[in-house]
C-alpha cells in the first residue's frame, strides 16, 4: 500500500483544513478512504449496524492536489481505508491556512502513520520552515470495508435548499439552550420551520421563499399527533425531530465556502444535509429522526 499526495494551492489548503475541522466537531474518530480519484472522510455512529454513517464526505482529488499517487492492496481491493483521530488531523492542519504546501503520505514509524509535511513561510526571513506531523493511523482490514460504503438511504420526501447556514446556526444555538431536540418542518410551498417545544416555551423560526428541489408527496399524517398548521395543506408538509446538538455541529460547516446546501427529509425518519462546494466537494450529514 502506498499513498503520496501534494497540495500547493492556498484555496484548496484552506478548504481542506475547514472540512477536517467540521469533521472533528462531529466525531473524535473518522475513516479516511483513499481511492484513485477521490478522498473520502467517513464518520460512523457507534451504534450503526445497517444505519447510514453520520457523515460522508467526498473530495475529488484532482481539484485539490497537484500530485497524487496511490497503490491499493491488490487488484480487487484498490482502495486504502485508514482509521484516525479527526482531532489529531484537524489540529495539525491549523497552520495550513498560511502554509506554502502540504505533502501527505502513508509511512511506517513505530506504527502506521499518516505523515504530513507542511512548508511554512517564515515571518522573519525568506526561508521556509518544515513542519512534520506523524499521525498514527489504523489500517482497516478488508472484511470491515463493507461497513463504510456509501449509504443507501430511502428516497427523501422533500429536498429543499437551506437559507444561510450561519443564520441557521445562530438560531439553533439559541434554541439549544432551551431544548435538546428540534423539529424541522418543510413544505412543498418553500417554507422551512425550526421549532422547539418544552414546558416553558414553544419557539418557531419560520423561513419562506426557499427553493424546493424535489417533493415526493403527498405525506400521510393520519397516524400521528401532528398539530395542523393553520392555513396549510398538511399533505404537502413533512417533519422530522432531531438532536439539536448534532444539527448545530453540522451547521458549523458554514466555515466552508459553499454553493448551496440541500436539506432532504424522510418524513419522521431521517434528515440528510448535503453541502456542495465550488471544488465539487460533497459533504453529507445524516441525522436520524427521534421517534417516541
Amino acid at each position: 500500500m502506498k499513498f503520496r499526495a501534494l497540495m500547493v494551492d492556498a484555496g484548496p489548503m484552506r478548504e481542506f483544513a475547514n472540512i477536517v475541522t467540521i469533521i472533528s466537531k462531529l466525531s473524535k474518530e473518522c475513516i479516511l478512504r483513499v481511492a484513485a480519484d477521490t478522498l473520502y472522510f467517513i464518520v460512523s455512529d457507534d451504534n450503526s449496524g445497517p444505519a447510514p454513517p453520520v457523515l460522508w464526505c467526498e473530495i475529488p482529488q484532482a481539484m485539490f492536489f497537484s500530485e497524487y499517487q496511490m497503490v491499493g492492496l491488490d487488484d480487487e481491493h484498490k482502495d486504502i481505508y485508514l482509521g484516525l483521530s479527526s482531532g489529531n488531523l484537524s489540529r495539525s492542519l491549523v497552520t495550513l491556512k498560511t502554509a506554502k504546501s502540504l505533502k501527505m503520505k502513508l509511512t511506517k514509524k513505530q506504527c502506521p502513520c499518516l505523515t504530513l509535511e507542511i512548508e511554512m513561510p517564515s515571518s522573519t526571513s525568506q526561508q521556509t520552515r518544515n513542519v512534520t506531523h506523524d499521525i498514527p493511523v489504523i489500517v482497516i482490514p478488508r472484511k470491515m470495508w463493507s461497513e463504510f460504503h456509501e449509504p443507501n438511504t430511502p428516497d427523501p420526501d422533500i429536498s429543499i435548499e437551506l437559507p444561510a447556514l450561519k443564520q441557521l446556526r445562530t438560531t439553533i444555538d439559541r434554541m439549544r439552550t432551551m431544548a435538546s431536540e428540534v423539529i424541522i418542518w418543510a413544505s412543498a410551498a418553500g417554507r422551512l420551520t425550526l421549532q422547539i417545544k418544552t414546558d416553558m416555551a414553544k419557539v418557531s423560526t419560520r423561513f419562506k421563499e426557499l427553493r424546493v428541489e424535489a417533493f415526493e408527496g403527498p405525506i400521510d399524517h393520519s397516524d400521528s399527533e401532528t398539530e395542523s398548521q393553520a392555513n396549510e395543506d398538511m399533505s404537502r408538509i413533512c417533519y422530522c425531530r432531531v438532536d439539536a446538538k448534532k444539527l448545530s455541529m453540522f451547521l458549523s460547516a458554514d466555515q466552508v465556502t459553499h454553493n448551496r446546501t440541500l436539506c432532504s427529509i424522510v418524513h419522521k425518519k431521517l434528515v440528510i444535509l448535503c453541502l456542495h462546494t465550488e471544488e465539487n466537494v460533497r459533504l453529507q450529514c445524516f441525522i436520524s429522526g427521534i421517534v417516541y
Binding site: 483521530s85 489529531n88 489540529r91 495539525s92 491549523v94 497552520t95 514509524k109 513505530q110 506504527c111 502513520c113 505523515t115 507542511i118 511554512m120 517564515s122 515571518s123 522573519t124 526571513s125 526561508q127 520552515r129 518544515n130 513542519v131 512534520t132 506531523h133 506523524d134 499521525i135 498514527p136 489504523i138
Partner: protein, 397 residues
C-alpha cells in the same frame, strides 16, 4: 526598603509577576544596593526564574530604608497569589497607573504596595510577608558553548504547531539547523500520540553560535510562560546552553533597566528514543524497551534528582548549593546564618539559605517578628565566600 516605580515600568513588573506565577507559588524579593531581585522556583525544582531590576528602573530607590542595620537590604518571601492580585491586568496598568510605591512596614511585617492611579484613585495592598528567606540558584550563563538570540516570535510561532497537550519539548541543535520536537514519554501509547517536528534554519535567528551540537529536552509549561513574557514586552530572547542534562538559561533584557533569567533543567533523555521522525525502525524500538527496564523507574523528566543517586554524581542538577568551608561555619554560628547545605549530603533538597536555626514551628505572629528582625542582623552573605562554586553571581554585572 522603599522604592518608586514610574507608570511605564509598572507594566513590566506586572508582566514579571505573571510570568513568575507560572513558575512557582512563592515570590522571593531581595533588595541590594544597586538593584532589586525577584526570584521563584517551581515545585518540581526543575525551573527557576530571576528578574533583576536595576536602580535606573526606579524613580526613587532606597534599598535599606527602615532597616535596623545600615547595610542590610530586604530579604523576604510573599505568596505569588498576593503578587498576582496587585498586578491583575498588566495590559491595562499602562494607562491606569501613574506610580507604584513599594515599601516595607517592619512593625506589621507587611510589604505595602501603593498604586497611584488615574482619576485620583489610590490602591493600597498590605501584603503579608511569609518568611524572611532569600534564595539563589547557581547556573552557568557566560561560558557556554551554545548561544542563540531569537526574536521571540519565531519560537512561539514554532510552538503553535504543537498540541496543547504536549508537555515537553526537545531541541536538537546543530550548526545547520534547530529542530524542535515534542518529547514523548516512552510510557505513553505511541499509537495515540502525534509526533510533530519543526525545523528552523540558523538564518532565522539574530544570533546563532553553536560550538557543541546537542539535544536538550525541557518542560513546555515554563517555556511558554517565558515566551509570553518576552512577547508582552516585545524583547528578543537569548538561549544559553551546553549539553544534554545541563540547564538551559533563557535571558530577556532591555539592555538597561532590567534583566530576566529563566533557567530550566533539561532531562538526560535517551536520545535514541527521540530520534528524528525519519529514523524509526522496529529494531530500535525493542532496544529502547530493554534500556528502559534497566533504569527501572528512573523517569526521564527534567528534575533536580532527589533520589536517584546516579544523577547526583554528574554536575547536572540545577542548584549547586554553596559549600560552606568549615571555618566560616564556626564563625557564623552565633548569628542567624544563612546556612546552605549541599543537597548531596542530606540526600534531600534543603531549603535554600534558611535564615533560622530554630526548628520549624508553627508561625505565630510574634515568632515571625523575631525571625524577621534577626534577618536584619549581620546575615551570611554568600559573596563573602572564597573558592565557592559561584559560577555566575546573579547580582554582578
Amino acid at each position: 526598603m522603599k522604592c518608586h516605580i514610574p507608570g511605564a515600568n509598572v507594566k513590566v513588573l506586572g508582566r514579571t509577576a505573571h510570568a513568575l506565577a507560572r513558575f512557582g507559588d512563592e515570590l522571593y524579593l531581595e533588595s541590594l544596593p544597586d538593584c532589586i531581585l525577584l526570584r521563584t522556583l517551581n515545585a518540581a525544582e526543575s525551573a527557576y526564574a530571576m528578574v533583576k531590576f536595576n536602580k535606573n528602573f526606579f524613580t526613587y530607590f532606597n534599598y535599606n530604608y527602615y532597616s535596623t542595620e545600615d547595610n542590610e537590604g530586604l530579604k523576604c518571601k510573599i505568596s505569588m497569589k498576593s503578587a498576582l492580585n496587585i498586578f491583575k491586568s498588566p495590559a491595562h496598568m499602562d494607562k491606569q497607573v501613574e506610580n507604584l510605591e513599594i515599601k516595607l512596614d517592619a512593625e506589621s511585617c507587611k510589604l505595602i504596595f501603593q498604586l497611584k492611579c488615574r482619576h485620583g484613585i489610590v490602591k493600597t495592598h498590605f501584603v503579608s510577608i511569609l518568611d524572611c528567606k532569600a534564595m539563589q540558584a547557581v547556573y552557568t550563563k557566560d561560558s557556554v558553548p551554545n548561544r542563540i538570540t531569537s526574536p521571540q516570535r519565531i519560537l512561539s510561532e514554532a510552538l503553535g504547531n504543537f498540541q496543547s497537550s504536549d508537555d515537553q519539548v526537545t531541541l536538537e541543535v546543530s550548526s545547520q539547523s534547530l529542530i524542535m520536537r515534542n518529547y514523548v514519554d516512552t510510557n505513553v501509547d505511541l499509537t495515540k500520540i502525534i509526533r510533530t517536528q519543526i525545523s528552523l534554519k540558523p538564518s532565522e535567528f539574530d544570533g546563532y553560535a553553536i560550538e557543541a551540537e546537542t539535544t536538550i529536552t525541557f518542560t513546555l509549561k515554563e517555556f511558554r510562560a517565558l515566551l509570553a513574557f518576552a512577547e508582552a514586552l516585545n524583547l528578543p530572547l537569548q538561549l544559553h546552553f551546553e549539553t544534554t542534562g545541563r540547564p538551559v538559561v533563557f535571558i530577556v533584557h532591555n539592555g538597561s533597566t532590567f534583566e530576566a533569567h529563566f533557567v530550566l533543567a533539561t532531562s538526560k533523555c535517551d536520545s535514541a528514543s527521540q530520534a528524528t521522525s525519519t529514523q524509526h525502525t522496529n529494531v530500535e524500538r525493542s532496544k529502547r524497551k530493554d534500556s528502559n527496564s534497566t533504569l527501572g523507574s528512573a523517569k526521564k523528566k527534567p528534575h533536580l534528582e532527589v533520589d536517584i543517586s546516579k544523577c547526583l554524581d554528574e554536575d547536572s542538577h540545577l542548584f549547586n548549593f554553596i559549600d560552606i568551608p568549615e571555618e566560616v561555619m564556626l564563625n557564623k554560628t552565633s548569628t542567624n546564618g544563612n546556612i546552605e547545605n549541599k543537597s548531596k549530603s542530606s540526600g534531600k533538597t534543603e531549603e535554600p539559605m534558611d535564615c533560622d536555626n530554630i526548628p520549624a514551628s508553627p508561625a505565630a505572629k510574634n515568632m515571625i517578628k523575631s525571625v524577621f528582625k534577626r534577618c536584619f542582623e549581620s546575615t551570611f552573605d554568600p559573596r563573602n565566600l572564597h573558592g565557592a562554586i559561584l559560577a555566575e553571581n546573579s547580582d554582578s554585572e
